[in-house]
């Protein structure tokens, strides 16, 4: 089984709709990172969550960390075509990042 599991694996939403992507760790989380990747391109840092219960927002994207459940969620409000891409959660393991398999988001205009 994967150390970081993301769900869903893929998502197609209509523009304007809200959506949530989840990331669950099988090990204790000491920091959770969210990155966005466009197909075939690099990783763009979105947010880092440090403490249980922490919630951060950037524009229409909000991420939360539930340390007890070893889970994080990424919520996009009123999705736009520019939100399309692959969302990756990552966890720090002694200085290296371990990633989930990614969630592919398509936003239909």
């Amino acid at each position: 089984s994967q150390e970081l599991e993301q769900s869903p694996q893929s998502l197609i939403v209509q523009e304007g709709k809200n959506l949530t992507i989840n990331c669950t760790s099988s090990k204790t989380l000491y920091g959770l990172y969210w990155y966005k990747q466009k197909y075939g391109e690099g990783l763009i840092f979105l947010m880092m969550l440090q403490k249980g219960g922490e919630e951060k927002s950037h524009e229409k994207i909000t991420a939360k960390l539930d340390e007890k459940k070893q889970q994080s969620s990424l919520h996009i409000t009123a999705s736009q075509p520019s939100h399309a891409g692959i969302y990756l959660c990552g966890a720090d393991r002694n200085g290296k990042l371990i990633f989930g398999q990614g969630t592919t988001l398509q936003v239909k205009p």
Binding site: I44, F45, L88, K96, Q101
Partner: protein, 115 residues
């Protein structure tokens, strides 16, 4: 805004050939990393580098791989004798510090195709 740069963006090579992938980390960063992503798979850690030494390497990073910081700005990944399964996107990253809660900045990647 400072960013990590990588060259080339795409490298095509014949099996058995040596390749060198180049990265210029952010100038005040001290920790450097290589990751790879085989098409359709997860981003995987290869190696971390600090103070001119490898800090940690994964099982993937075998004797065919090496890293170097040849001067004050470049950070390179060399694959001595490429195999078909080395075809992947290779990402360089850098960070100011190490450990939890330190953002790693990623470059745009080099797509390596081994024929």
């Amino acid at each position: 805004e400072p960013e990590v740069t990588q060259t080339p963006s795409h490298q095509v090579t014949q099996m058995g050939q040596e390749v060198i992938l180049r990265c210029v980390p952010i100038s005040n960063h001290l920790y450097f990393y290589w990751y790879r992503q085989i098409l359709g798979q997860k981003v995987e850690f290869l190696v971390s580098f600090y103070n001119n030494e490898i800090s940690e390497k994964s099982e993937i990073f075998d004797d065919q791989f090496s890293v170097e910081r040849p001067d004050g700005s470049n950070f390179t990944l060399k694959i001595r004798s490429t195999k078909l399964e080395d075809s992947a996107m290779y990402f360089c990253a850098s960070s100011e510090r190490v450990g939890p809660y330190n953002e790693q900045f990623f470059g745009p990647g080099t797509r390596l195709t081994v024929l």
